[in-house]
Structures are given as structure tokens and as C-alpha cells.
Amino acid sequence: MAAIFQGVGAAAPLSSSPSNSFDSNKSVFSPPRSFSVVRSDGIVNLNPKGRSAQRLISNAVATKADSPAASSSSKPGHELLLFEALQEGLEEEMERDPRVCVMGEDVGHYGGSYKVTKGLAKRFGDLRVLDTPIAENSFTGMGIGAAMTGLRPVIEGMNMGFLLLAFNQISNNCGMLHYTSGGQFTIPVVIRGPGGVGRQLGAEHSQRLESYFQSIPGIQMVACSTPYNAKGLMKAAIRSENPVILFEHVLLYNLKERIPDEDYICNLEEAEMVRPGEHVTILTYSRMRYHVMQAAKTLVNKGYDPEVIDIRSLKPFDLHTIGNSVKKTHRVLIVEECMRTGGIGASLTAAITENFNDYLDAPIMCLSSQDVPTPYAGTLEEVTVVQPAQIVTAVEQLCQ
């Protein structure tokens, strides 16, 4: 199903300085990295000190068309949609390393239910892009066994929710096997798929599995939100020796952005600074980033200066980026799509409280989805998920 979300503007990053590319073979760890700064619109707010007079933007999330004068050929990089960015990242890694393979339902001939693997089977063959029967636990385990014996599978859950059936393999084998084997076997798998609340997909297709998987030791979890970081994270995840779960969102697949032509990766453990600010730190990830940025428009018009960070790495948290922000603004708002109970926000709240309590001027606020199975009715579904208006209210409350 095509996600009709073309209105989101994740326009070209003003400074496309990709994160230091990380070579996992290096024994020396590269020092912390520069951020790639993505402005959500073409308007630059470089005045950090306070309120600048901004004209009122009515639809904060509408795409800002590239200024008519510029033609795409004069700009560096190429424009594509998020699912194409994922596909590009995957394809490049498959070219680079013949051990990278894909397995999942309908990834081959069908091209993937969200077209992320489109064309790959034709190019790489049916064994490298394997159409599996509907047996998540077993084919996930099969991917793990293949990883132990030398391959680098990318396992797709057609919907992340389906991976609940693979919980046995993900928890016991994917997460723990490296440890219980005393380090003898590595599991360089990438488990990826779309999750999150879509448009009236019903409760079971609207799950947020990041909260269920976060306790599993031995795995990393990342969530992509823009074409740029989607491709970067996909490539980094494939190159990583650790098992990585890459969370995509059903409604973000049609985001358009201009990304660099050259090879780049996004560091798996780093957060992304979306909008520097002074008054409040807003931590978010995946689709909620766009709700936050929409709220940010309103907030800016009201005179607030929010700092928005897309945490990207759901496990482990990038405490450096987050900490620096907290130390600057002293106020934290977490906006997530997980349920309130046991979600990523809950863990993040704990982590910030443990590490940066002294820097907080106010208790951390966490806006999450309601602890409700996502209803089918559109009006109800809208209310289970955090909306920009709530974010605005929360910031106003925090900044009192």
C-alpha cells in the first residue's frame, strides 16, 4: 500500500557532511562525529538567541518545492524517495559483498511489499533474494544460521509486527548466541521492516516492536526517518558485525530528499541533530520527527526555540548528543510513537534521569501513544498517536 505522505518536506540538507564513515575493521575507534544537519524546510533560522520574526507557516510539513530557479542537474546528489534510498543502500552493499543476501516474504519476484527490494531478484537471482514461505520464526532462524556460517543476510519482516512470531529466534539466537558461544560465532544479520501506525491498518499491523525488542541483550536497534539516513543506516547495519534491527515506518516510504552520490554511511550509534535550539530538547525518532517539526513551526512562531534531535539509535542511546543538549537547554520532551508503558521513551527517561539529573530544570515529559490497541476508525487512530498540537502544548508547559 502506498503511503500517501508526500507532503513531508525533508528537503536537502544544507550541509551534507556525512558522519565519519566507520570501518568496523579498525581497532581504533573514531572520535565523535559531525552531524548532518537536515532542516525540515528551506528556511534558515540561524539566530540562536531567541525569537526572530518568522512569517507564519500554515502547513509546516508541506514540502517546500525546490526554488523554481534551480534545476536538479545543477545541484549535487540525486533525488529519490525513502524506499528507493533503502533499495539503493541494499543494492550497493550486495554489489560490494557477495555474501550479502536478502530473505523474506515476497522480497524476490514481488519486489517487496513496500518495494524496497524491487528489481533485486532479477539482478542477483532467486537464491540471493530469497522468497520464503510464511514462517517467520524459521526463516529468521535460517538467516541466523546462515550468518553463523559466513553469510550476511538481510531479513525482512513484511510488517515488523510479524516478527513477533520470530521472537524466539531474535531473542535467543540473534541476541544471545554470540555470547553463549563464547564469542565463536558472529551474527551479522540485519532485520528490517516497516512498522508503526499507518493509515487505518488496524491494531495488528500498527505495532511498534522497538519497545518489545529493546531488552534483548546483544542487538542494536536503529530507526530511519529520512532518505538520507535510511540509506546510511541500511549500509552501516549491513556492514556491522553485530545483529542490527532497522525500523522503517509505513508512512515514510514516499519521503523525497536529495542525497549524495558518493558512498556514505550513517553511524549506527549516533543521534541526528535536526534543529539546534536553546529552550527545550525534543527527542524523537521515526515518524514522530515530522510531527515534532510541524509543531516546531508553531513553536517558533510563538517565540520558542526548540532543539530537535532524532535519536536514530534506539539501542544504545547516544548519550553524548543527548547529554550535550540537555546540558544546554535543561528541559527535555520525548515524543515517540511507542506505547507509554515500557516504550523507548520510558527507557530514555530513565537514562537521562540517571545521567543528567543535575542539569534538568523540570521533570522530563514523555509523549507517547496511548496504551491502546490501535483502532481502525480514523478519528480514534488519530487520537492514539501524538499530534503536533499536543507537542506544542507540552513545550509550552515545560517552558513555563
Binding site: 566507520f22 568496523s24 575507534f29 565523535p32 557477495p98 555474501r99 543476501c101 537464491l127 540471493r128 520464503t132 514461505p133 514462517a135 520464526n137 524459521s138 526463516f139 532462524g141 535460517m142 538467516g143 541466523i144 544460521g145 546462515a146 550468518a147 553463523m148 556460517t149 559466513g150 553469510l151 524466539n168 529466534q169 535467543n172 539466537n173 548466541l177 554470540h178 555470547y179 553463549t180 558461544s181 563464547g182 564469542g183 565463536q184 560465532f185 558472529t186 551474527i187 551479522p188 546483544g218 542494536q220 556491522s240 558485525e241 553485530n242 549506527l268 550509534e269 549516533e270 539509535s313 539501542k315 544504545p316 547516544d318 548519550l319 553524548h320 548528543t321 547529554g323 545521567n355 543528567f356
Partner: protein, 432 residues
Amino acid sequence: MSTAFSAANFSTQSFPLNHTSTTTHDSPLVFAKPTSQFLRSTPKLRLSSFSKLNLSRRSGTVVAVSDVVKQKKSKSTPTLLITKEEGLELYEDMVLGRAFEDMCAQMYYRGKMFGFVHLYNGQEAVSTGFIKLLKQQDSVVSTYRDHVHALSKGVPARAVMSELFGKTTGCCRGQGGSMHMFSREHNLLGGFAFIGEGIPIATGAAFTSKYKREVLKEADCDHVTLAFFGDGTCNNGQFFECLNMASLWKLPIVFVVENNLWAIGMSHLRATSDPQIYKKGPAFGMPGIHVDGMDVLKVREVAKEAIGRARRGEGPTLVECETYRFRGHSLADPDELRDPAEKAHYAARDPITALKKYLTENNLASESELKAIDKKIDEVVEDAVEFADESPVPPRSQLLENVFADPKGFGIGSDGRYRCEDPKFTQGTAHV
């Protein structure tokens, strides 16, 4: 012999399932009285809990291996199935398995190992019969009853015993324990605590073998994977899902069912609608074989064919080995449910005694040679215990080392450095 296993044959031919009386098992390798279709052989013992089931009506189209092997026999002299070297190798491996497990029981009750320990006594013929046919690069996947699979595959007894004692010299550095034996060098892919969860792993290893041959163009890659699991697992979804996938893609794998009739206290007959597991193979398009798992030579003959099939790229096979564990499910199991008569019946079919008899009766080995092996194994096991005893326990610094292959996975700390760069990390005291 190969004719009986070819896919075309097993679906069209109908072999009568033989039955036998219980008294013929003192010479199990005389093929005039072939192995029973096991459910018939001791009707009292097995059907007492399920009297309505009339198993005599069941007929399968799947071969009972004994018939196949029977065809090889000539009337005048018995054709020997093994050479002297092979015989001694098999004997030594089974005795190692038995002596090791007995020592484990001793050590457990002396407080040297803890937790759940599942011993393999009685089932040695399956491990030895199959694994001794493998090359080093072939893979074995087991369950929690994995000590003997590890030993058969070549993991040194010292490494296994140390692992059981929780010492750092164990094959998994003391981090796995009894139920998680792994060896990269010997391609032992575990050791799994949950039943069924190893079968997809085995399927993945077989997938890699096929991938190497067809995608990476390593034309001579013919590695085979063996997946061992029990009767209880055969009611689990992962079993069926993997039978399907293995057959679909003709993966080089053999599914070996060690049917010892009991899953802790649950009798196979009480848990399974159709207890004849080997019949489930053809449902997925692969041959299903039933073999007497107390007879190492019969197991070996079947294994040769099944492994050969896989190596030739003809696909998977399901082999059901009728076997029995002489001890309880684990060392914590009081083993009160099983009928003593059933236990006695199988104790009389001890695979080691049977092989010993075969070797001596066919003049392949003398009593003294076999005794020498017994003694040698005793020394190996004693040495393993000594080594394990003297080995150090894992230091605190080992705690965080193998959580991630790339320890950057612990993330970036508030000071901007990766957590694994924190000196406390190497000491095992870092907060992660």
C-alpha cells in the same frame, strides 16, 4: 541400497512393516529378525496408555531400513559392515560418550556442575553412527542433550568438561554451559535450550552450503548439516516449517529424530496424533526412514545414504531413530513415570554391548583390545575432570566481552567516547 531411498521408490513401493518379538535382540545385527516397527514390538509397554489405537492397521510406504540392509545379506557368510579400524573407532566414540556422561552425573552430585544437565546414556549409537561419517567442515546442530554430539564431532573432552564446570577454558569460555556447546573449529553450531530453535539454525547452515556452491561458485562445496532433535520437537512448528523449506530448496541437511519416546514425563504416544514420525517426511517431499537407534551399524548405514543424498545435492532426509535414554530427562528428573519393564527392555539393547558383541563375534577385535579402549577412555575422562578442576573460573573482566562482536554496540557514553573505551569495560565493571 541406494534404490530404496530414491524418491521415486519410496513413494511407490510398499514395504511391510515388520514386527519382532522381544527376545531376539541379543544379536541385533543378525538380519533374519529385523527391527520392529517399534510401536508393535512391545504392545504391552507402549499401548497401555492408548489402548484404542490399533496400530496394526497402519501401513506406511516408507522403508524400514532393516529391509534394505537385509537385501545385502548373503546366506553363507555374514557380510561385514565395517572394517576393524572403523569398528574400533565407533566403539571408542560410544564408550567415550558413555563414560563422559557417567562422569557428568558423578560431578553433578558432587557439586561441580549445576543447572540443567541432560545426559545421553543409551543414545550413543545415534551420535556415533551419524557424526563419525562427517567431515570437519560439515555442521552439527544439537539440543540441550549435546555433550555427546560435541564429543563425537571432535570437541575435546577437556573443553566440554571445563564448560560444564563453568571454567574459562571451556569451549564457550564458561558462558554457555551444558545446553550451549559450540565449537567453531569443529562446526558444532550448538547446543540450544529451547527445543526446535536449533532446527532453523541447521537449515541456515545448509542454506549457506548451497549458497556457497551456487552463488559464490565454490563448486566443490558439499558441506552437509545434521540437525538432531527429539520426539517432542516433532510436534513443534519450527520442525515442520524447516522440513518444508529444506525440501523446497533441496538443502543439504539431514533431520535426525532421536525418538526416545519421552519428553520429560510426556510419552510420545500421549503427545502425538500420528506417532510415526518418519512418515512426516514424505508429506514434505523427502524420504522418511525409520531405523533402530540402539544399533550403531544400522544407524550408520542409514546415515551413509542420507548424508550421501545431501552431498549429491538431492535434498534432505528425515531419519527417525528409535532409541532410549537410560537416565532421566535431566539429572533433576526423578524418572518415576517410565515403566521399569520398558527400561529393562532397552537396557538389554545397550548399543555398546551390541557393538562389542558384533566385534568379538566377527573377530574384528579381541576382548583385550576393547578393554584397552575402555581403559584409555577412562583416562581421557579423568584427565578431562582434572583439567576442568584446575582451570580458572572466568574473571570479572570477561563479563562484557562477548555481548557484541563489535563492542561499539554498547553505544556512546555521555563523555562522547564509546563505552567500550571505558577502562571499566575491560574490567567488567562498567555500567552498560
